[in-house]
């Protein structure tokens, strides 16, 4: 996994609450057995005017000029600013895969859906929770200033705007540690292999029916 320490990038506003993972990456693209290549179909039904199908040539598709990601001033954005409950619905990890493949490293919102939030950390994306009032303020700033970029510092746990104003955010120490070092969860868990084995032995003795093969 790609490590995350500091990031400075262009911010794009997606001004809707409850953006679900079906909207982030529609179901027809979930048929892929790969982990990459989902970025072209991120927000497919909003980004394009024609119906998206797997394996399509993207350059021939009809772009929806009204969708925010298609506006030239937001080309190359790597920080997504959005509203409450981002990533609700399906547990599909294809959603963070699509966001990462498109180029997003950070998502800022007042709240996230649980499973999506968790999935982000497995893919080098930092989801940042800020107060609704601050998010509101950022939405206004992005709209008013072309080229509006933010600096994210994971070590200091801060978001800094172009005027130098800083906003702090919180996250679990364990998640921070893994993201800072790009660590593989499975390797970390396997450091506890003895604890797992001894738990399993006790569990099997207490509930043998759970181990009937």
């Amino acid at each position: 996994m790609q490590a995350f320490t500091q990031h400075n990038g262009l911010c794009v506003p997606l001004d809707r609450p409850n953006v679900d993972t079906d909207a982030i990456i529609p179901k027809q693209f979930l048929k892929s057995i790969k982990r990459s290549g989902f970025g072209a179909n991120l927000f497919d039904e909003w980004r394009y005017l024609d119906r998206g199908e797997p394996g399509q040539e993207v350059s021939t598709r009809k772009i929806n000029p009204d969708f925010v990601l298609n506006q030239p001033r937001y080309a190359g954005a790597s920080i997504l600013l959005t509203r409450d409950n981002f990533g609700c619905g399906s547990s599909r990890e294809h959603a963070p895969w699509a966001l990462e493949d498109y180029g997003f490293r950070t998502i800022i919102a007042p709240s996230f859906a649980d499973i999506f939030y968790n999935n982000c950390f497995k893919n080098g994306i930092l989801p940042i929770v800020l107060d609704s009032d601050i998010v509101d303020q950022l939405f206004k700033q992005v709209a008013a200033n072309e080229g509006y970029a933010l600096t994210i510092d994971l070590v200091a746990q801060t978001v800094t705007d172009p005027a130098g104003q800083q906003f702090s955010f919180t996250l679990d120490a364990f998640r921070k540690h893994c993201l800072l070092h790009g660590l593989d969860d499975i390797d970390l868990t396997l450091q506890h292999v003895d604890a797992i084995k001894s738990f399993e032995q006790k569990h099997r003795a207490a509930s043998p029916w759970l181990f009937a093969d």
């Binding site: 399906s90 893919n123 499975i186």
Partner: protein
């Protein structure tokens, strides 16, 4: 000893290791695997040269991509090559890693969340995960069950554990005698309407109260299934006699001496009387009518006697614009009576409502009636091969066929339209599934979530009707 909630008990019984910041290693008793969220996990194992920790703790089956029409040609008969490859990949992975699988040709195949309880592969007291958010279904049997991402599918395959942070405790008590015509689906839709689609975020929800007790185990599964639509990953219900009766004798259930031991252990799977919840909500079930969603989020729901709400009356500007966008997508005007909404298609199925009791309830409404001419397709998709067999033994397939419903093969089908079953742009559907998101049932499709009997009644009337009046009129 401090009083514990059911969730506390399930958590504590599976805690392997806890880090200083509270993140913990939790042992997973069962993982369900399907074709959509597992290929990258198996590939990860291969790349790292890892093997499953305990292959038989997993149970796999294809469900999302499988066709619901003719199955005679098996996997080779899946016409979409991308879907076919995904199902073939699951079959191959299960062989390579010795994972038990119910393949497409197996009569036990179906939607993972219908099949696992049906087989007794979901048991009280278990921790159970699956790369699917509707894994919350299994909490109806007093299990700790929730959806995970594909990285976590791989993590559980490799380590039999999951890294978790403990959720907060919420209890939703539903009290009173359930009125005729009101189902588990209406109860859970009403709960989501009250709580909101993010109201449960960060919580594990226990459902309790006399109305929950009154529900069958299948009804309880419907309630727990949709917990995720209120933002909570896990929903659960304490063990009672119905739970024990449901599990007894199922193929994967404990046998012989183990059965007695298991039943004794399961007796403790309830919240202690003085357990403390971080949040508690009480609903009176007698206030609940049959429900119909009107928008593009499950929280956008109204009683059948109600109207589409007016965004102008919503004070919060973010919510107001969300409502306006939803109405624009769904093609409805504010203040339209729910009963004035006409439909084009009907879908009875999904992990929410495709069990035998759901099909019986829908068939009772369809019996002796006809699907309206204005409805272009009404389909019934059983949740598993065994549900289908049981329904056919009871003659439900004939009742549906005579009424003009199509009777299909088991799978997820038009709940998310990964196979050929889908809505065309602008088509409006009465659906017993769980999500009315934009494009969920097909790009541009418009979904209204309802109970099985409300869906059957809408199929006959061509528009939403109150199934309570509908049944009375015909008597």
């Amino acid at each position: 000893m401090a009083a514990k909630t059911l969730y506390d008990k399930l958590w504590d019984a599976h805690l392997v290791h806890q880090n200083e910041d509270g993140s913990s290693l939790i042992y997973i008793d069962r993982q369900l695997v399907h074709e959509v969220t597992s290929p990258q996990a198996f590939e990860g194992l291969r790349l790292a040269g890892r093997k499953p920790w305990r292959a038989t703790a997993n149970l796999a089956m294809p469900d999302h991509n499988v066709p619901t029409t003719d199955r005679a040609a098996g996997v080779a008969g899946i016409t979409d090559p991308v879907s076919r490859l995904q199902v073939e990949t699951l079959d191959k992975n299960c062989v390579d890693f010795a994972i038990p699988e119910f393949t497409m040709a197996d009569i036990r195949q179906g939607i993972v969340h219908v099949v696992s309880p049906e087989q007794g592969a979901t048991l009280p007291g278990m921790t159970l995960v699956c790369g699917d958010s509707h894994t919350s279904t299994h909490g109806a049997l007093a299990a700790l069950a929730h959806g995970v991402g594909t990285s976590e599918v791989e993590h559980v395959l490799a380590t039999q554990c999951l890294i978790q942070k403990k959720s907060k405790n919420m209890r939703i008590r539903v009290e009173g005698k359930i009125p005729i015509g009101v189902t588990a689906k209406d109860i859970v839709l009403a709960i989501i309407g009250k709580l909101g689609t993010a109201g449960g975020t960060g919580y594990a929800i226990e459902f309790s109260g006399s109305a929950i007790r009154e529900l069958s185990i299948e009804g309880r599964m419907t309630v727990c299934n949709m917990t995720i639509e209120a933002g909570a990953r896990a929903g659960m219900i304490a063990v009672d006699d119905k739970t024990i009766d449901y599990v007894k004798g199922r193929p994967f259930a404990p046998k012989g001496e183990d059965w007695g031991k298991a039943v004794a252990a399961w007796a403790d799977l309830h919240s202690d009387e003085d357990a403390v919840f971080d949040c508690e909500i009480v609903l009176d079930v007698t206030d609940i009518e049959p429900q119909v969603t009107w928008g593009t989020s499950p929280e956008m729901v109204a009683p059948i006697s109600g109207c589409v709400p007016d965004p102008q009356r919503e004070p919060d500007s973010v919510k107001r614009s969300g409502m306006q966008r939803a109405l624009e997508y769904i093609g409805l005007k504010a203040n339209t009576a729910i009963t004035d909404i006409s439909i084009d298609k009907v879908f009875i199925g999904s992990c929410t409502n495709s069990r035998i009791e759901d099909l019986r309830a829908a068939a009772a409404v369809a019996k002796g009636r006809k699907v309206a001419d204005s409805v272009s397709l009404a389909m019934v998709v059983p949740g598993s091969g065994l549900v289908k067999k049981q329904a056919e033994a009871e003659g439900l397939d004939k009742i549906f066929a005579e009424a003009g419903f199509e009777w299909r093969q088991p799978g997820c089908s038009m709940c998310l339209a990964m196979n050929a079953d889908r809505l065309e742009p602008g088509e409006r559907c009465a659906s017993t599934s769980n999500r009315n998101f934009e494009g969920r049932q097909g790009q541009g499709g418009r979904t209204h979530l309802v109970s099985p009997q409300m869906a059957a009644a809408a199929a006959v009337a061509g528009h939403f009707v109150d199934v309570r009046d509908f049944t009375l009129e015909s008597r």
